[in-house]
Symmetry: C2
Amino acid sequence: MRIAELSERSGVPIPTIKYYLREGLLPRGEATGRNQARYGNEHLSRLRLVRALTTVGGLSVATVREVLAEVGEPGVGLHSKLGLVMRRLPLVGDDIEPREEDRERARAFVTRRDWFFYPDHPALEALAVVLAGHREAGHPVTEADLDRYAESAEQIARVDLDRISGLPEAEDVLEGAVIKTVLGDTLLAVLRRLAQVDESAERNLDEAGRRAAREG
Amino acid sequence: MRIAELSERSGVPIPTIKYYLREGLLPRGEATGRNQARYGNEHLSRLRLVRALTTVGGLSVATVREVLAEVGEPGVGLHSKLGLVMRRLPLVGDDIEPREEDRERARAFVTRRDWFFYPDHPALEALAVVLAGHREAGHPVTEADLDRYAESAEQIARVDLDRISGLPEAEDVLEGAVIKTVLGDTLLAVLRRLAQVDESAERNLDEAGRRAAREG
């Protein structure tokens, strides 16, 4: 495909693609003329990865170059590649303006799960924002995945409520809730990262691979 | 108790306590002399709540004053109080310097769970940081709670890995992993908030209370 089609299919503007080419983040296409080149699906994949790392991941161009170099080393398996990328990621993403359809989906979701909710709760708007973020990044969340995550969230909320129940004063409960909720978000994000490493090793590495990966 | 004991038991310096008194965040004690007052356990509870809201919660003094006024309205049940406080909270906490004991506990934990891990993975240090945060806030995480959260994290990691498996190119997998991990942290934090509201309503409200709470 030509650069115009690469831009259209990736959603990345042509000047940005040219910048990535100059910076070496995207390999040159096959030259077909003085000022023309042809790009393949591997360019499209790379372009989407670079965009994810810079926008959602918040990485600098220099860091992306480093990550790509590490990932591109010969003989690096998928599990290790995942590890190399994931450890560079921040623990939270940025905000995006949701559309009305995202807000409707958020409301429909909590209604379908039969969750008690307040229509003006900021978490409902935050759910619309994060659904919009997935949609705009070209990785919409399916209802099935949302349900699987919601089941985990329900389990977690039971632990959360157990942890603050039985405290003597209402204000003790509130203090515990503040600390355990805010620090708990980070705790869960961190445990998720560690569990991902384990799950990825489980799926992608045999015993020898585990030993080799561990020894770096 | 005197202000000195209040300071010692809460860990809040006396000048800060005096500032909270002047700002009306902490009610005056019972006057026992020209410049002396006696404080009770309700002062200690309130002080710990104010500190949690300002430090971990990151709220301004003005916002804390608002929250306390709302929470202090007569006839507001615990479920509604929780809701009033929780909706003001940011979705992530700040960092803290862990001690060696926190790092050891983090390593011992992943070892005990038999998780595959890299000793230099940043999530392991992040786990130590968040354990330190709970400890310093006076709400250490028990091993039992950590285990219950870890089970949820394992479930979530299985969903995560399912969501990125089967993509055609390694770089597609990586791009999906970046987007789904970073946005997924927010997604999970948001679902957790919504599930907490539901769980708290389940535990603390009857049918009439649910109707009343929903109508605000």
